[in-house]
């Protein structure tokens, strides 16, 4: 323990007050030439030292989650990487390669057992002994299990790690599997293809600043960002309620920014913060730039296509066939059947009915009601 004392702890031990500590921090900040704007950062750094160690794994993914992460503007990623935490292993950015890189991972697992945060980008292929993703000769699933064993928290970045994303789309040739299906411990799912940068850094800082995991929903997603549908917060919502829809790309309605529902927008079935937090420092989000939501943070969204239609294809009938096509066929068949039945009834039973009518003619007067 002793070697991990923070500066604040050391000063406390030496009998200094918190006031003195703060003074020391501002002094250190001035020395560092950071100025008052950087002061809170220094305070945090000294107080929290050692910075929480982080291992960031890459499996079956496209690195867009890492790319998204570095787009964060509050906090900016340099502050996250250099002041908030210690990114001890990340194939995308780390200086070391090969066995030296692997060494970084091992050191962290040993030195900070039970204390490091594990971030996973990408799904894990389970088919055929894991041969579809190996790193340093080891299979992804082995690496995941080993690193997760002593992790304080596990975050699954993006749709790949939290629901299998594209490689998990039918026919899922490699048996791509999300993290939470492999580990027995709780996993924080941060879906999206990729997730929004500021959502990613917020989830991490939530843990660091508030000292606890954000509240999760039944699918392991932080409620903070995934409890509302894109549709519920979409600025085009009034046009949806008014029934003003884009009917074809770049038509008059598209140019007025009407609702993209009929162009297949998945906003009504997608939980994400896009319409509120927006992308790239609030610059836009898919719908604001004229394309419907693809539902990229939803489980299995690749198989909910085609994307430009409200309803998915009916499985097994080709992309042009929807539930409505099938329904219409069955409905018409029922109507035709009923009509045909009525006609044959009339032909085959005419005689019978004539007889019945004959028989039912009362012999005398009305039938008196026969109550029970």
């Amino acid at each position: 323990m002793a070697e991990n004392l923070t500066i604040w702890q050391t000063m406390q031990a030496k009998g200094h007050s918190r006031r003195e500590f703060l003074k020391f921090c501002s002094f250190a900040a001035a020395l560092a030439g950071i100025g008052s704007a950087g002061f809170p950062r220094v305070l945090r750094a000294f107080e929290k030292e050692p910075r929480p160690p982080v291992i960031w794994l890459h499996f079956q993914e496209c690195t867009c989650c890492s790319e998204s992460f570095i787009r964060s503007s509050h906090p900016i990623v340099a502050d996250v990487v250099f002041d908030y935490l210690s990114l001890d292993y990340t194939e995308t950015l780390q200086a070391a390669a090969g066995f030296q890189a692997e060494q970084c991972m091992e050191d962290t697992m040993k030195k900070f057992a039970g204390k490091y945060i594990l971030l996973v980008e990408g799904s894990i292929p389970l088919e055929d002994d894991g041969i579809y993703c190996t790193i340093a000769g080891k299979s992804a699933v082995d690496i995941l299990r080993e690193t997760a064993k002593n992790a304080a928290a596990v975050i699954a970045w993006g749709s790949c790690a939290s629901n299998g994303c594209i490689q998990g789309a039918a026919p899922n040739p490699t048996g791509a599997t999300p993290v939470h299906d492999i580990l027995s411990q709780p996993v924080i799912n941060v879906p999206g293809c990729p997730p929004i940068a500021e959502v990613m850094t917020a989830v991490v800082t939530h843990i660091l600043v508030f000292g606890k995991i954000p509240e999760l929903d039944s699918q392991g997603r932080p409620r903070e960002f995934y409890s509302r549908r894109v549709h519920d917060t979409c600025y085009r919502r009034p046009t949806y309620d008014a029934g003003l829809f884009v009917e074809s790309w770049d038509d008059e309605n598209a140019r007025k920014g009407y609702c993209l529902y009929k162009m297949g927008c998945r906003g009504p079935v997608t939980y994400n913060a896009c319409a509120v937090t927006r992308w790239n420092e609030g610059t836009s989000y898919p719908i604001q730039s004229g394309h419907g939501c693809l539902g990229c943070s939803e489980n299995g969204f690749w198989d909910n296509g085609p994307f430009y239609r409200h309803l998915a294809s009916f499985p097994g009938f080709g992309i042009e066939t929807t539930a409505d096509t099938i329904g219409t066929v069955v409905g018409v068949a029922a109507a035709v059947g009923v009509t045909a039945h009525a006609i044959t009834t009339n032909i085959r039973k005419r005689k019978l009915i004539a007889e019945e009518i004959q028989n039912s003619v009362p012999e005398s007067g009305d039938v008196e009601g026969g109550e029970e």
Binding site: A32, A45, E49, P50, R51, H58, F59, C62, T63, C64, E67, I70, I76, F82, S86, E91, T92, L93, A95, A96, Q100, A101, Q103, D107, D128, C133, T134, I135, K138, Q167, A169, P173, T174, A176, C193, P194, S248, W249, D250, R255, K256, G257, C274, W279, N280, E281, S284, Y285, P286, Q288, S289, G290, H291, L294, C296, W302, G305, P306, G318, I319
Partner: protein, 556 residues
């Protein structure tokens, strides 16, 4: 003789493993293996061709957007759709945005630590760094106090004992040549570039809704233009794009290029290392009069064989004899035998892993050893990427390219042949970035002029409805991704994808050797690369990083 393994190769995209034989401090043979596969080409079968861009875009989040572009072009090519002028210009702007962001990030965050010794920056005199900075550029952040603050930040960081991403780096390796003051400059700009790169991609967000993975559309672009409407691309949005372009020009001209040339000046010995293949291929891109008019492209199309810059060969991606993919050393099988080469329209993707069971120490490099297929042009291995583009353009007599290349050669005082190298590849990337930011301004001005002239169309709906499609169709969509020549091939049958094949820049460069034993670009470039210390493969990283590997792209 030592057999060294570098796995993972870090500071790249994806899962790359290099095995190399080192004799007397020099690499004599090398094997490049991609160790992750997802099966995109299998997953795409049976889907709506209009959705393919979204799928293929997810091949890679680093060069995000280029697969989407290649994909919409493929489908448009198959169905005979031409896009409105605004759509072409907006696509070009998004393309250029990608180049600038990707190349700057590559230089500072993926490649720089091969040349810049972070720890040595602690010994720098900030005054000296400031003097150097002011001498090479007008960039305003150049005061001694600024560099002192950066240095202090690094110091605090290093003294914390937690080195994070810098842990176990090859600091102090004899191949690091920069003086401390320049190292400090590199570190400062590492941080600046990290903060800047998130700005330029806002252009993607404006036109495509987000970055990474902006949205595309077969037949045009999804964003509508309406100067009378707050809900569309209007003057505010256009101004936003304009100022981002201005910022990009400043960043490239005042930071990236000066740094590149300054660093290159200390590493001229690397102009003799890592040349590798002598054949170069570029499909060309940035159309100015439609995708079907390659002569209107800013980046010209063509192939160079044997470094002969006097002859540009024509490239035809439809010819079944030109581009073929082989799997002699790849974990796949072909229905008619593994020695065959397949044109992508007839391409097959059937897994057939024959490698060792993990965990393993070595691959069986005599057999199959990678998930990448091996593409060949007329049976030749080709290098693709910035160097190939610059060479093809240079050889085609492109004035813009001649100018920037000439300037750089003069500044560094090296002959033209210096470009056939690790250093040349890294320099070519910077030089084309300079061109691309300039062109970006041109496209932007054209877009404004076109809108001003009353044309606001962004989409062509003639063939949107699948009922207008023929029963079968085939198309090819080419592009120049940041890492090189990219193309997708599609076969459409009954309104669905019948076959879809991607042949990607990093597939060309990082693939295993072919059946005839010809190495592809990475493997060839490593031959002759010096390795001072087999336990610190810094030099391997330099040459491999000069290609800017993207293995998720390469395998998909």
């Amino acid at each position: 003789m030592a057999r060294i393994v570098v796995d993972p190769i870090t500071r790249i995209e994806g899962h790359l493993r290099i095995e190399a034989t080192v004799e007397n401090g020099v690499i004599t043979d090398a094997y490049s293996s991609g160790t992750m596969v997802r099966g995109f080409e299998k997953i795409l079968k049976g889907r709506d061709p209009r959705d393919a861009w979204a799928f293929t875009e997810r091949a890679c989040g680093v060069c995000t957007t280029v697969h989407a572009l290649a994909s919409v072009r493929t489908v448009e090519d198959a169905l005979g759709i031409s896009v409105p002028k605004n759509a072409e210009l907006i696509r070009n702007l998004m393309f250029c945005t990608q180049y600038v962001q990707d190349h700057v990030v590559h230089f500072y965050h993926l490649h720089a630590l091969d040349w810049v010794d972070v720890v040595s920056a602690l010994k720098a005199d900030p005054n000296e760094t400031s003097t150097i900075a002011k001498a090479i550029s007008a960039w305003p952040k150049s005061s001694p106090a600024y560099f002192a603050a950066v240095q202090q930040r690094v110091k605090t960081f290093v003294e914390s004992g937690q080195l994070g991403i810098f842990a176990n780096g090859y600091w102090g390796h004899p191949a690091y040549k920069l003086p401390p003051a320049v190292n400090l400059l590199g570190v400062a700009h590492y941080l600046e570039a990290l903060e800047w790169q998130k700005e330029i991609v806002k252009i993607h967000a404006i036109f495509g809704g987000k970055n990474p993975h902006p949205n595309y559309l077969v037949g045009g672009v999804p964003c509508s233009i309406n100067l009378e409407e707050v809900n569309a691309i209007n003057s505010e949005r256009l101004n936003f794009v304009g100022s981002l372009i201005k910022g990009a020009i400043d960043m490239v001209e005042q930071v990236y290029l000066p740094d590149l040339l300054a660093v290159a000046g200390f590493y001229k010995d690397w102009a003799a290392v890592g040349g590798g293949l002598k054949n170069y291929l570029a499909y060309g891109d940035l159309p100015t009069r439609g995708y079907n008019q390659p002569d209107s492209f800013k980046f010209p199309r063509g192939a160079i064989l044997d470094r002969n810059l006097d002859e540009i060969h024509e490239v035809n991606p439809r010819d079944s004899e030109e581009i073929k993919e082989y799997i002699s050393h790849s974990w796949y099988k072909y229905s008619d035998g593994d020695d065959a080469g397949k044109h992508p329209w007839d391409g097959e993707t059937e897994f057939n892993y024959t490698g060792p069971k993990p965990p393993y120490a070595h691959l069986n490099v005599d057999g199959k050893y990678s998930w990448l297929k091996t593409p060949r042009w007329k049976e030749h291995p080709m290098e693709v990427g910035p160097l190939a583009r610059i060479l093809v353009a240079y050889a085609s007599g492109n004035d813009d390219v001649k100018e920037v290349v000439g300037e750089a050669l003069a500044k560094l005082d090296v002959p033209v042949t210096a470009v056939f190298s690790t250093l040349g590849r890294t320099a070519a990337r910077g030089l084309e970035t300079r061109l691309v930011v300039r062109w970006m301004k041109e496209f932007y001005d054209d877009l404004i002029a076109n809108i001003k002239a009353g044309d606001t169309r962004t989409f062509n709906d003639e063939k949107w409805d699948p009922n207008t499609w023929p029963a079968t169709a085939e198309g090819v969509g080419m592009s120049e991704a940041p890492r090189g020549a990219l193309a997708h091939w599609i076969r459409i049958k009954d309104k669905q994808i019948d076959n879809y094949q991607l042949v990607v820049p990093s597939t060309w460069n990082a693939s295993p050797r072919d059946g005839m034993g010809q190495r592809s670009a990475y493997e060839e470039a490593l031959i002759g690369t010096p390795v001072a210390n087999v336990d610190q493969p810094l030099e391997i990283l330099r040459t491999i990083h000069s290609f800017d590997p993207c293995i998720a792209c390469a395998v998909h």
